[in-house]
Amino acid sequence: MHPWVTYDSTLRALERGETTCEQVTEGFLRTIADGTRLNAFLSVFNEKALDRARAIDRKRADGRAGRLAGMVIAVKDVLSMRNEKVTCASRILEEYVAPYDATVIERLLAEDAILIGKTNLDEFAMGSSTENSAFGPVLNPVDESRVPGGSSGGSCVAVAAGMAHTALGTDTGGSIRQPASFCGIVGLKPTYGRVSRYGLVALSSSFDQIGPFAANVTDAARVLQVIAGHDERDSTSAAVAVPDYSAALTGSCTGLKIGLPNEAFGEGLDAGVRAAVEAAIGRLRDRGAVIMPVSLPHVPYHISTYYILMTAEASSNLARYDGIRFGHRSAEARDLHDVYTASRSEGFGAEVKRRIMLGTYVLSAGYYDAYYRKAQKVRRLIQKDFFDAFASVDLIVMPTAPTTAFKIGEKAADPLTMYLSDIYTVSANLAGVPAISVPCGTADGMPVGVQFIGKQFDEATVLSAAFALEHGAS
Protein backbone atom coordinates (compact mmCIF):
# COMPACT_ATOMS: atom_id res chain seq x y z
CA MET A 1 0.00 0.00 0.00
CA HIS A 2 1.51 3.28 -1.13
CA PRO A 3 1.24 6.31 1.16
CA TRP A 4 0.61 8.80 -1.65
CA VAL A 5 -2.77 10.28 -2.50
CA THR A 6 -3.79 10.91 -6.09
CA TYR A 7 -5.89 13.91 -7.03
CA ASP A 8 -8.23 11.53 -8.88
CA SER A 9 -9.16 9.73 -5.67
CA THR A 10 -9.76 13.06 -3.93
CA LEU A 11 -11.84 14.37 -6.84
CA ARG A 12 -14.07 11.30 -6.77
CA ALA A 13 -14.57 11.65 -3.02
CA LEU A 14 -15.29 15.39 -3.40
CA GLU A 15 -17.80 14.71 -6.13
CA ARG A 16 -19.58 12.08 -4.04
CA GLY A 17 -19.69 14.51 -1.14
CA GLU A 18 -17.62 12.17 1.05
CA THR A 19 -15.01 14.79 1.87
CA THR A 20 -14.25 18.50 1.62
CA CYS A 21 -11.16 20.43 0.56
CA GLU A 22 -10.77 21.40 4.21
CA GLN A 23 -10.74 17.76 5.35
CA VAL A 24 -8.34 16.80 2.58
CA THR A 25 -5.99 19.62 3.56
CA GLU A 26 -6.24 18.65 7.24
CA GLY A 27 -5.27 15.11 6.28
CA PHE A 28 -2.16 16.26 4.46
CA LEU A 29 -1.21 18.59 7.33
CA ARG A 30 -1.42 15.63 9.74
CA THR A 31 0.81 13.53 7.51
CA ILE A 32 3.30 16.41 7.34
CA ALA A 33 3.27 16.74 11.15
CA ASP A 34 3.74 12.98 11.58
CA GLY A 35 6.62 12.92 9.08
CA THR A 36 8.80 15.81 10.22
CA ARG A 37 11.75 13.41 10.58
CA LEU A 38 11.82 13.20 6.75
CA ASN A 39 12.61 16.95 6.73
CA ALA A 40 10.71 17.49 3.48
CA PHE A 41 9.32 20.94 4.36
CA LEU A 42 11.04 24.20 5.26
CA SER A 43 7.75 25.98 5.94
CA VAL A 44 4.16 24.75 6.23
CA PHE A 45 1.14 27.00 5.64
CA ASN A 46 -1.16 25.47 8.27
CA GLU A 47 -3.90 28.07 8.86
CA LYS A 48 -3.42 29.78 5.55
CA ALA A 49 -3.92 26.51 3.65
CA LEU A 50 -7.01 25.65 5.69
CA ASP A 51 -8.52 29.11 5.12
CA ARG A 52 -7.98 28.71 1.45
CA ALA A 53 -9.43 25.18 1.47
CA ARG A 54 -12.60 26.49 3.13
CA ALA A 55 -12.85 29.26 0.53
CA ILE A 56 -12.52 26.70 -2.25
CA ASP A 57 -15.18 24.51 -0.65
CA ARG A 58 -17.51 27.52 -0.92
CA LYS A 59 -16.53 28.08 -4.55
CA ARG A 60 -17.20 24.40 -5.29
CA ALA A 61 -20.64 24.68 -3.71
CA ASP A 62 -21.33 27.65 -6.00
CA GLY A 63 -19.99 25.83 -9.06
CA ARG A 64 -17.26 28.43 -9.55
CA ALA A 65 -14.20 26.33 -8.75
CA GLY A 66 -11.12 26.23 -10.99
CA ARG A 67 -9.48 23.30 -12.76
CA LEU A 68 -7.28 22.35 -9.80
CA ALA A 69 -9.86 22.92 -7.07
CA GLY A 70 -8.78 21.01 -3.99
CA MET A 71 -5.43 19.90 -5.37
CA VAL A 72 -2.92 20.28 -2.54
CA ILE A 73 0.50 21.28 -3.85
CA ALA A 74 3.92 21.61 -2.21
CA VAL A 75 6.39 24.10 -3.70
CA LYS A 76 10.17 23.87 -3.88
CA ASP A 77 11.66 26.71 -1.85
CA VAL A 78 13.20 28.41 -4.86
CA LEU A 79 9.88 29.80 -6.10
CA SER A 80 8.59 33.19 -4.98
CA MET A 81 5.28 33.45 -3.16
CA ARG A 82 4.40 36.98 -2.08
CA ASN A 83 5.04 37.57 1.64
CA GLU A 84 6.51 34.10 2.16
CA LYS A 85 10.16 33.22 2.67
CA VAL A 86 12.26 31.89 -0.21
CA THR A 87 15.37 30.43 1.40
CA CYS A 88 16.77 28.24 -1.40
CA ALA A 89 17.85 26.12 1.61
CA SER A 90 20.69 28.61 2.09
CA ARG A 91 21.82 30.61 5.11
CA ILE A 92 22.34 33.56 2.81
CA LEU A 93 18.58 33.79 2.12
CA GLU A 94 17.38 32.48 5.48
CA GLU A 95 15.33 35.62 6.20
CA TYR A 96 14.44 36.65 2.63
CA VAL A 97 10.74 37.30 1.98
CA ALA A 98 9.47 37.39 -1.60
CA PRO A 99 7.86 40.66 -2.66
CA TYR A 100 5.85 39.06 -5.51
CA ASP A 101 4.41 35.79 -6.82
CA ALA A 102 6.13 33.64 -9.44
CA THR A 103 4.05 33.14 -12.58
CA VAL A 104 3.58 29.43 -11.82
CA ILE A 105 2.24 30.32 -8.37
CA GLU A 106 -0.19 32.85 -9.84
CA ARG A 107 -1.42 30.26 -12.33
CA LEU A 108 -1.91 27.52 -9.71
CA LEU A 109 -3.77 29.90 -7.40
CA ALA A 110 -5.98 31.11 -10.26
CA GLU A 111 -7.12 27.49 -10.72
CA ASP A 112 -7.85 27.07 -6.99
CA ALA A 113 -4.96 24.85 -6.03
CA ILE A 114 -4.11 24.82 -2.30
CA LEU A 115 -0.44 25.53 -1.60
CA ILE A 116 0.56 23.72 1.56
CA GLY A 117 4.20 24.64 2.10
CA LYS A 118 7.71 25.20 0.80
CA THR A 119 9.99 22.20 0.44
CA ASN A 120 13.61 21.44 1.25
CA LEU A 121 16.30 21.10 -1.39
CA ASP A 122 20.03 21.06 -2.00
CA GLU A 123 21.21 24.62 -1.34
CA PHE A 124 20.45 26.69 -4.46
CA ALA A 125 19.43 23.42 -6.15
CA MET A 126 23.06 22.33 -6.34
CA GLY A 127 23.17 18.63 -5.65
CA SER A 128 21.78 15.21 -6.47
CA SER A 129 20.86 13.98 -2.99
CA THR A 130 19.32 16.86 -0.94
CA GLU A 131 22.20 16.40 1.51
CA ASN A 132 23.45 19.93 0.73
CA SER A 133 20.58 21.78 2.43
CA ALA A 134 21.64 24.29 5.08
CA PHE A 135 18.64 23.00 7.04
CA GLY A 136 19.56 19.31 7.08
CA PRO A 137 19.15 16.41 4.64
CA VAL A 138 15.84 14.97 3.45
CA LEU A 139 15.27 11.24 3.98
CA ASN A 140 13.89 8.80 1.40
CA PRO A 141 10.52 7.54 2.71
CA VAL A 142 11.03 4.12 1.08
CA ASP A 143 14.23 3.55 3.10
CA GLU A 144 15.13 6.31 5.52
CA SER A 145 18.83 5.43 5.49
CA ARG A 146 18.92 6.51 1.84
CA VAL A 147 18.82 9.84 0.03
CA PRO A 148 15.65 10.85 -1.84
CA GLY A 149 17.71 12.20 -4.72
CA GLY A 150 18.01 15.86 -5.50
CA SER A 151 17.98 18.64 -5.76
CA SER A 152 14.16 18.75 -5.41
CA GLY A 153 14.21 16.08 -2.68
CA GLY A 154 11.68 17.80 -0.42
CA SER A 155 9.08 18.23 -3.18
CA CYS A 156 9.54 14.63 -4.23
CA VAL A 157 9.21 13.27 -0.71
CA ALA A 158 6.15 15.47 -0.09
CA VAL A 159 4.34 13.55 -2.84
CA ALA A 160 5.91 10.14 -2.21
CA ALA A 161 5.03 10.28 1.51
CA GLY A 162 1.47 11.53 0.98
CA MET A 163 2.03 15.10 2.24
CA ALA A 164 0.59 16.70 -0.90
CA HIS A 165 -1.13 15.52 -4.08
CA THR A 166 1.56 17.03 -6.29
CA ALA A 167 4.57 19.31 -5.97
CA LEU A 168 6.54 21.76 -8.04
CA GLY A 169 10.23 21.15 -8.48
CA THR A 170 12.90 22.57 -10.72
CA ASP A 171 15.13 20.57 -13.03
CA THR A 172 18.46 22.00 -14.17
CA GLY A 173 20.28 18.69 -14.69
CA GLY A 174 17.82 16.11 -13.40
CA SER A 175 16.57 17.61 -10.14
CA ILE A 176 12.97 16.52 -10.78
CA ARG A 177 13.48 13.23 -12.61
CA GLN A 178 16.24 11.67 -10.50
CA PRO A 179 14.42 12.05 -7.15
CA ALA A 180 11.19 10.84 -8.78
CA SER A 181 13.10 7.71 -9.82
CA PHE A 182 14.64 7.28 -6.34
CA CYS A 183 11.28 7.58 -4.54
CA GLY A 184 9.02 5.76 -7.00
CA ILE A 185 6.84 8.59 -8.33
CA VAL A 186 6.39 10.55 -11.57
CA GLY A 187 8.55 13.62 -12.33
CA LEU A 188 8.38 15.73 -15.47
CA LYS A 189 10.87 18.25 -16.85
CA PRO A 190 9.15 20.25 -19.58
CA THR A 191 10.91 21.66 -22.65
CA TYR A 192 13.16 24.62 -21.89
CA GLY A 193 10.89 27.66 -22.31
CA ARG A 194 7.64 25.75 -21.85
CA VAL A 195 7.04 27.06 -18.32
CA SER A 196 7.75 30.64 -17.27
CA ARG A 197 10.70 31.06 -14.90
CA TYR A 198 9.51 34.46 -13.67
CA GLY A 199 9.79 34.37 -9.89
CA LEU A 200 12.15 31.39 -9.86
CA VAL A 201 15.47 32.10 -8.15
CA ALA A 202 17.94 31.60 -11.00
CA LEU A 203 20.51 28.83 -10.79
CA SER A 204 21.62 28.15 -14.34
CA SER A 205 19.54 30.15 -16.73
CA SER A 206 20.02 28.19 -19.95
CA PHE A 207 19.00 24.94 -18.22
CA ASP A 208 16.46 25.68 -15.44
CA GLN A 209 12.88 24.50 -15.93
CA ILE A 210 9.97 24.18 -13.49
CA GLY A 211 7.94 20.98 -13.54
CA PRO A 212 5.60 18.74 -11.53
CA PHE A 213 6.01 15.73 -9.25
CA ALA A 214 2.92 13.53 -9.01
CA ALA A 215 1.84 10.09 -7.87
CA ASN A 216 0.63 9.35 -11.40
CA VAL A 217 0.96 10.62 -14.97
CA THR A 218 -2.55 12.06 -15.05
CA ASP A 219 -1.87 14.40 -12.15
CA ALA A 220 1.46 15.47 -13.65
CA ALA A 221 -0.37 16.32 -16.88
CA ARG A 222 -2.99 18.32 -14.96
CA VAL A 223 -0.36 20.50 -13.32
CA LEU A 224 1.58 21.00 -16.54
CA GLN A 225 -1.64 22.04 -18.29
CA VAL A 226 -2.00 24.94 -15.88
CA ILE A 227 1.62 26.12 -15.56
CA ALA A 228 2.66 25.79 -19.23
CA GLY A 229 2.49 28.62 -21.71
CA HIS A 230 4.04 31.89 -22.74
CA ASP A 231 4.61 34.64 -20.18
CA GLU A 232 5.76 38.06 -21.28
CA ARG A 233 7.59 38.50 -17.97
CA ASP A 234 10.01 35.71 -18.94
CA SER A 235 11.45 36.56 -22.33
CA THR A 236 12.83 33.02 -22.70
CA SER A 237 9.38 31.50 -22.29
CA ALA A 238 8.22 30.22 -25.65
CA ALA A 239 5.17 31.42 -27.54
CA VAL A 240 4.20 27.87 -28.51
CA ALA A 241 0.57 26.72 -28.18
CA VAL A 242 -0.17 24.38 -25.26
CA PRO A 243 -2.21 21.33 -26.35
CA ASP A 244 -4.77 19.47 -24.24
CA TYR A 245 -2.51 16.97 -22.46
CA SER A 246 -5.37 14.84 -21.17
CA ALA A 247 -6.16 13.94 -24.80
CA ALA A 248 -2.73 12.29 -25.03
CA LEU A 249 -3.43 9.92 -22.14
CA THR A 250 -5.07 7.14 -24.15
CA GLY A 251 -3.13 4.15 -22.86
CA SER A 252 -2.18 3.18 -26.40
CA CYS A 253 1.36 3.11 -27.67
CA THR A 254 0.68 1.21 -30.87
CA GLY A 255 3.05 2.31 -33.59
CA LEU A 256 4.96 4.67 -31.30
CA LYS A 257 8.59 4.71 -32.42
CA ILE A 258 10.89 4.61 -29.42
CA GLY A 259 14.66 4.94 -29.80
CA LEU A 260 17.01 2.94 -27.62
CA PRO A 261 20.46 4.55 -27.36
CA ASN A 262 23.17 1.94 -26.79
CA GLU A 263 25.37 4.57 -25.19
CA ALA A 264 22.98 4.80 -22.21
CA PHE A 265 23.09 1.11 -21.37
CA GLY A 266 26.82 0.70 -20.93
CA GLU A 267 29.34 0.75 -18.12
CA GLY A 268 28.18 2.06 -14.75
CA LEU A 269 24.55 0.99 -15.11
CA ASP A 270 23.39 -1.11 -12.16
CA ALA A 271 22.25 -4.59 -13.26
CA GLY A 272 18.98 -4.37 -11.35
CA VAL A 273 18.16 -0.97 -12.84
CA ARG A 274 18.98 -2.27 -16.30
CA ALA A 275 16.70 -5.30 -15.82
CA ALA A 276 13.77 -3.15 -14.65
CA VAL A 277 14.18 -0.66 -17.50
CA GLU A 278 14.54 -3.40 -20.11
CA ALA A 279 11.43 -5.13 -18.75
CA ALA A 280 9.50 -1.85 -19.09
CA ILE A 281 10.68 -1.46 -22.67
CA GLY A 282 9.56 -5.05 -23.28
CA ARG A 283 6.07 -4.24 -21.99
CA LEU A 284 5.82 -1.27 -24.35
CA ARG A 285 6.94 -3.46 -27.25
CA ASP A 286 4.26 -6.02 -26.30
CA ARG A 287 1.71 -3.21 -26.44
CA GLY A 288 2.66 -2.25 -29.98
CA ALA A 289 5.51 0.25 -29.61
CA VAL A 290 8.28 -0.06 -32.17
CA ILE A 291 11.65 -0.14 -30.41
CA MET A 292 14.53 0.98 -32.64
CA PRO A 293 18.25 1.54 -32.03
CA VAL A 294 19.40 5.18 -32.10
CA SER A 295 22.78 6.70 -31.43
CA LEU A 296 23.73 9.53 -29.09
CA PRO A 297 27.48 9.41 -29.72
CA HIS A 298 28.36 12.28 -27.37
CA VAL A 299 26.91 10.71 -24.20
CA PRO A 300 30.44 10.30 -22.72
CA TYR A 301 30.84 14.11 -22.92
CA HIS A 302 27.50 15.08 -21.34
CA ILE A 303 28.68 15.42 -17.73
CA SER A 304 31.72 17.54 -18.56
CA THR A 305 29.75 19.82 -20.85
CA TYR A 306 26.94 20.20 -18.36
CA TYR A 307 29.09 20.96 -15.33
CA ILE A 308 31.24 23.53 -17.17
CA LEU A 309 28.22 25.47 -18.44
CA MET A 310 26.10 25.01 -15.34
CA THR A 311 28.78 26.21 -12.92
CA ALA A 312 29.67 29.14 -15.17
CA GLU A 313 26.05 30.30 -15.28
CA ALA A 314 25.56 29.66 -11.56
CA SER A 315 28.65 31.65 -10.60
CA SER A 316 27.29 34.61 -12.59
CA ASN A 317 23.75 34.27 -11.20
CA LEU A 318 24.97 33.99 -7.62
CA ALA A 319 27.04 37.16 -7.92
CA ARG A 320 23.87 39.01 -6.88
CA TYR A 321 24.23 37.75 -3.28
CA ASP A 322 26.49 40.50 -2.05
CA GLY A 323 24.89 41.51 1.25
CA ILE A 324 23.67 44.84 -0.12
CA ARG A 325 20.09 44.64 -1.40
CA PHE A 326 18.90 41.42 0.26
CA GLY A 327 20.20 38.35 2.02
CA HIS A 328 22.73 37.87 4.79
CA ARG A 329 25.12 40.73 5.60
CA SER A 330 28.11 39.84 7.71
CA ALA A 331 28.28 41.54 11.08
CA GLU A 332 32.08 41.40 10.81
CA ALA A 333 32.39 43.53 7.68
CA ARG A 334 34.31 46.79 8.12
CA ASP A 335 34.37 48.09 4.55
CA LEU A 336 32.41 47.52 1.37
CA HIS A 337 34.71 44.82 0.03
CA ASP A 338 34.36 43.00 3.35
CA VAL A 339 30.58 43.13 3.05
CA TYR A 340 30.77 41.21 -0.21
CA THR A 341 33.39 38.67 0.75
CA ALA A 342 32.41 38.03 4.37
CA SER A 343 28.67 37.91 3.64
CA ARG A 344 29.13 35.43 0.81
CA SER A 345 31.68 33.30 2.66
CA GLU A 346 29.45 33.05 5.74
CA GLY A 347 26.21 32.60 3.79
CA PHE A 348 27.05 29.96 1.18
CA GLY A 349 27.60 26.26 1.92
CA ALA A 350 30.50 24.13 0.71
CA GLU A 351 28.97 22.78 -2.53
CA VAL A 352 27.73 26.21 -3.60
CA LYS A 353 31.20 27.68 -3.03
CA ARG A 354 32.80 24.80 -4.92
CA ARG A 355 30.56 25.42 -7.94
CA ILE A 356 31.04 29.19 -7.82
CA MET A 357 34.81 28.59 -7.81
CA LEU A 358 34.60 26.12 -10.68
CA GLY A 359 32.33 28.42 -12.68
CA THR A 360 34.46 31.48 -12.02
CA TYR A 361 37.55 29.51 -13.05
CA VAL A 362 36.12 28.34 -16.40
CA LEU A 363 34.99 31.90 -17.17
CA SER A 364 38.24 33.57 -16.12
CA ALA A 365 40.71 35.16 -18.51
CA GLY A 366 42.87 32.52 -20.17
CA TYR A 367 40.44 29.64 -19.58
CA TYR A 368 37.20 30.94 -21.15
CA ASP A 369 37.91 29.51 -24.61
CA ALA A 370 39.35 26.23 -23.33
CA TYR A 371 36.42 25.41 -21.07
CA TYR A 372 33.33 27.61 -21.45
CA ARG A 373 33.38 28.21 -25.19
CA LYS A 374 34.49 24.64 -25.84
CA ALA A 375 31.56 23.31 -23.80
CA GLN A 376 29.12 25.55 -25.67
CA LYS A 377 30.36 24.03 -28.91
CA VAL A 378 30.03 20.48 -27.62
CA ARG A 379 26.53 21.37 -26.42
CA ARG A 380 25.58 22.01 -30.03
CA LEU A 381 26.91 18.58 -31.02
CA ILE A 382 24.91 17.02 -28.17
CA GLN A 383 21.72 18.78 -29.23
CA LYS A 384 22.32 17.69 -32.83
CA ASP A 385 22.55 14.05 -31.67
CA PHE A 386 19.05 14.38 -30.27
CA PHE A 387 17.66 16.19 -33.31
CA ASP A 388 19.20 13.52 -35.59
CA ALA A 389 17.69 10.73 -33.49
CA PHE A 390 14.28 12.43 -33.51
CA ALA A 391 14.31 12.40 -37.31
CA SER A 392 13.50 8.69 -37.07
CA VAL A 393 11.85 8.17 -33.65
CA ASP A 394 9.11 9.85 -31.57
CA LEU A 395 10.79 9.30 -28.21
CA ILE A 396 14.03 8.13 -26.67
CA VAL A 397 14.01 5.78 -23.69
CA MET A 398 16.76 5.29 -21.13
CA PRO A 399 17.18 4.81 -17.40
CA THR A 400 16.60 7.93 -15.28
CA ALA A 401 19.58 7.19 -13.03
CA PRO A 402 22.35 4.58 -13.17
CA THR A 403 21.51 3.25 -9.69
CA THR A 404 18.70 3.24 -7.16
CA ALA A 405 18.80 5.65 -4.19
CA PHE A 406 22.20 5.55 -2.52
CA LYS A 407 22.93 5.70 1.21
CA ILE A 408 23.10 9.05 2.98
CA GLY A 409 26.76 10.06 3.08
CA GLU A 410 27.83 7.52 0.46
CA LYS A 411 28.83 10.05 -2.20
CA ALA A 412 28.99 13.23 -0.14
CA ALA A 413 32.78 13.26 0.16
CA ASP A 414 33.49 12.99 -3.55
CA PRO A 415 31.98 15.73 -5.74
CA LEU A 416 32.97 14.19 -9.08
CA THR A 417 31.33 10.84 -8.21
CA MET A 418 28.18 12.75 -7.26
CA TYR A 419 28.27 14.68 -10.56
CA LEU A 420 28.67 11.45 -12.54
CA SER A 421 25.42 10.10 -11.06
CA ASP A 422 23.59 12.67 -13.24
CA ILE A 423 24.73 10.97 -16.45
CA TYR A 424 21.26 10.13 -17.84
CA THR A 425 19.42 13.26 -16.77
CA VAL A 426 21.67 16.14 -17.88
CA SER A 427 21.14 15.16 -21.54
CA ALA A 428 17.60 16.53 -21.73
CA ASN A 429 18.68 19.84 -20.18
CA LEU A 430 21.66 20.15 -22.52
CA ALA A 431 19.38 19.63 -25.54
CA GLY A 432 16.44 21.60 -24.10
CA VAL A 433 13.99 18.74 -24.65
CA PRO A 434 11.21 17.45 -22.36
CA ALA A 435 11.66 14.27 -20.30
CA ILE A 436 9.72 12.31 -17.73
CA SER A 437 10.68 9.71 -15.15
CA VAL A 438 8.00 7.13 -14.44
CA PRO A 439 8.24 4.17 -12.04
CA CYS A 440 9.02 0.83 -13.72
CA GLY A 441 9.63 -1.58 -10.86
CA THR A 442 12.26 -2.11 -8.22
CA ALA A 443 15.82 -3.32 -7.81
CA ASP A 444 16.74 -4.80 -4.42
CA GLY A 445 13.55 -3.32 -2.99
CA MET A 446 14.22 0.26 -4.13
CA PRO A 447 12.22 2.04 -6.84
CA VAL A 448 13.54 2.34 -10.39
CA GLY A 449 12.44 4.98 -12.89
CA VAL A 450 12.50 4.80 -16.67
CA GLN A 451 12.91 8.01 -18.62
CA PHE A 452 11.16 9.04 -21.83
CA ILE A 453 12.72 11.98 -23.68
CA GLY A 454 10.73 13.76 -26.37
CA LYS A 455 11.04 16.35 -29.10
CA GLN A 456 11.03 20.03 -28.10
CA PHE A 457 7.52 21.07 -27.00
CA ASP A 458 6.19 17.52 -27.44
CA GLU A 459 5.37 16.86 -23.78
CA ALA A 460 2.16 15.20 -25.05
CA THR A 461 4.01 12.21 -26.51
CA VAL A 462 6.24 11.96 -23.43
CA LEU A 463 3.18 11.86 -21.18
CA SER A 464 1.40 9.46 -23.52
CA ALA A 465 4.17 6.83 -23.35
CA ALA A 466 4.50 7.23 -19.58
CA PHE A 467 0.75 6.78 -19.18
CA ALA A 468 0.76 3.68 -21.41
CA LEU A 469 3.52 2.15 -19.30
CA GLU A 470 1.80 3.08 -16.04
CA HIS A 471 -1.41 1.42 -17.19
CA GLY A 472 0.16 -1.58 -18.89
CA ALA A 473 2.19 -2.36 -15.81
CA SER A 474 -0.70 -2.45 -13.40
Binding site: E95, Y96, V97, P99, Y100, T191, Y192, G193, S206, E232, S235, T236, A238, H298, P300, Y301, S304, T305, Y307, A319, G323, I324, R325, F326, G327, R329, R334, D335, L336, H337, D338, V339, Y340, T341, A342, R344, S345, F348, R354, I356, M357, L358, T360, Y361, S364, A370, Y371, R373, K374, A375, K377, V378, R380, L381, Q383, P415, L416, L430, G432, Q456
Partner: protein, 97 residues
Protein backbone atom coordinates in the same frame (compact mmCIF):
# COMPACT_ATOMS: atom_id res chain seq x y z
CA UNK B 1 46.96 22.43 -17.02
CA UNK B 2 46.91 22.13 -13.28
CA UNK B 3 45.30 24.38 -10.66
CA UNK B 4 47.69 25.73 -8.02
CA UNK B 5 46.83 27.23 -4.61
CA UNK B 6 47.77 30.58 -6.20
CA UNK B 7 45.07 30.05 -8.85
CA UNK B 8 42.57 29.26 -6.11
CA UNK B 9 43.47 32.56 -4.40
CA UNK B 10 43.01 34.44 -7.66
CA UNK B 11 39.64 32.84 -8.45
CA UNK B 12 38.45 33.32 -4.86
CA UNK B 13 39.23 37.01 -5.19
CA UNK B 14 37.24 37.20 -8.45
CA UNK B 15 34.32 35.38 -6.80
CA UNK B 16 34.46 37.42 -3.56
CA UNK B 17 34.92 34.33 -1.40
CA UNK B 18 37.44 33.70 1.34
CA UNK B 19 38.73 30.31 2.47
CA UNK B 20 40.84 28.92 5.27
CA UNK B 21 44.16 27.31 4.33
CA UNK B 22 42.63 23.88 4.84
CA UNK B 23 39.69 24.72 2.59
CA UNK B 24 42.05 26.09 -0.06
CA UNK B 25 44.08 22.90 -0.06
CA UNK B 26 40.97 20.79 -0.44
CA UNK B 27 39.56 23.02 -3.19
CA UNK B 28 42.82 22.90 -5.12
CA UNK B 29 42.70 19.14 -5.15
CA UNK B 30 38.96 18.96 -5.96
CA UNK B 31 39.20 21.49 -8.78
CA UNK B 32 42.12 19.55 -10.24
CA UNK B 33 40.18 16.30 -10.15
CA UNK B 34 37.08 17.83 -11.74
CA UNK B 35 38.89 19.93 -14.34
CA UNK B 36 41.15 17.09 -15.43
CA UNK B 37 38.02 14.97 -15.99
CA UNK B 38 36.57 17.84 -18.06
CA UNK B 39 39.66 18.02 -20.23
CA UNK B 40 38.23 14.99 -22.08
CA UNK B 41 36.39 17.60 -24.20
CA UNK B 42 39.74 18.49 -25.80
CA UNK B 43 39.57 15.15 -27.60
CA UNK B 44 36.66 16.44 -29.71
CA UNK B 45 37.22 18.42 -32.88
CA UNK B 46 34.92 21.44 -32.64
CA UNK B 47 36.79 23.82 -34.92
CA UNK B 48 33.83 24.33 -37.24
CA UNK B 49 31.05 24.12 -34.64
CA UNK B 50 29.10 27.22 -33.61
CA UNK B 51 28.77 27.61 -29.84
CA UNK B 52 25.24 26.97 -28.55
CA UNK B 53 24.12 29.59 -26.04
CA UNK B 54 20.39 29.03 -26.18
CA UNK B 55 18.58 25.76 -26.85
CA UNK B 56 15.43 27.24 -28.37
CA UNK B 57 15.82 29.26 -31.55
CA UNK B 58 14.76 32.69 -30.36
CA UNK B 59 14.97 36.00 -32.14
CA UNK B 60 14.97 39.24 -30.18
CA UNK B 61 11.93 39.53 -27.98
CA UNK B 62 10.17 42.89 -28.04
CA UNK B 63 7.29 44.31 -26.05
CA UNK B 64 5.29 47.48 -26.56
CA UNK B 65 7.09 50.52 -25.15
CA UNK B 66 4.54 51.33 -22.47
CA UNK B 67 4.89 51.88 -18.75
CA UNK B 68 3.93 48.94 -16.56
CA UNK B 69 3.84 48.88 -12.76
CA UNK B 70 7.13 47.87 -11.17
CA UNK B 71 8.09 46.90 -7.64
CA UNK B 72 7.18 49.61 -5.09
CA UNK B 73 10.17 51.08 -3.24
CA UNK B 74 9.06 49.59 0.07
CA UNK B 75 8.74 46.13 -1.48
CA UNK B 76 12.14 46.44 -3.11
CA UNK B 77 13.73 47.57 0.15
CA UNK B 78 11.96 45.19 2.53
CA UNK B 79 14.83 42.69 2.49
CA UNK B 80 17.65 45.23 2.63
CA UNK B 81 20.18 44.62 5.42
CA UNK B 82 20.72 48.39 5.59
CA UNK B 83 18.24 51.10 4.59
CA UNK B 84 17.93 54.84 4.90
CA UNK B 85 14.75 56.40 3.48
CA UNK B 86 14.45 54.95 -0.02
CA UNK B 87 18.12 53.98 -0.28
CA UNK B 88 20.24 50.91 0.41
CA UNK B 89 23.06 51.72 2.79
CA UNK B 90 26.58 50.26 2.77
CA UNK B 91 29.64 50.85 4.93
CA UNK B 92 31.75 53.86 4.00
CA UNK B 93 33.51 53.20 0.69
CA UNK B 94 36.26 55.83 0.95
CA UNK B 95 38.64 55.46 3.86
CA UNK B 96 39.22 58.29 6.36
CA UNK B 97 42.61 59.96 5.97
Amino acid sequence: MSVTPKDVDHVARLAHLSFTDGEKQRLTSELNTILSYMEQLNGLDTEHVEPLAHVIELANVFRPDVRTPGLAADDALQNAPGRSDDFFTVPKVIADR
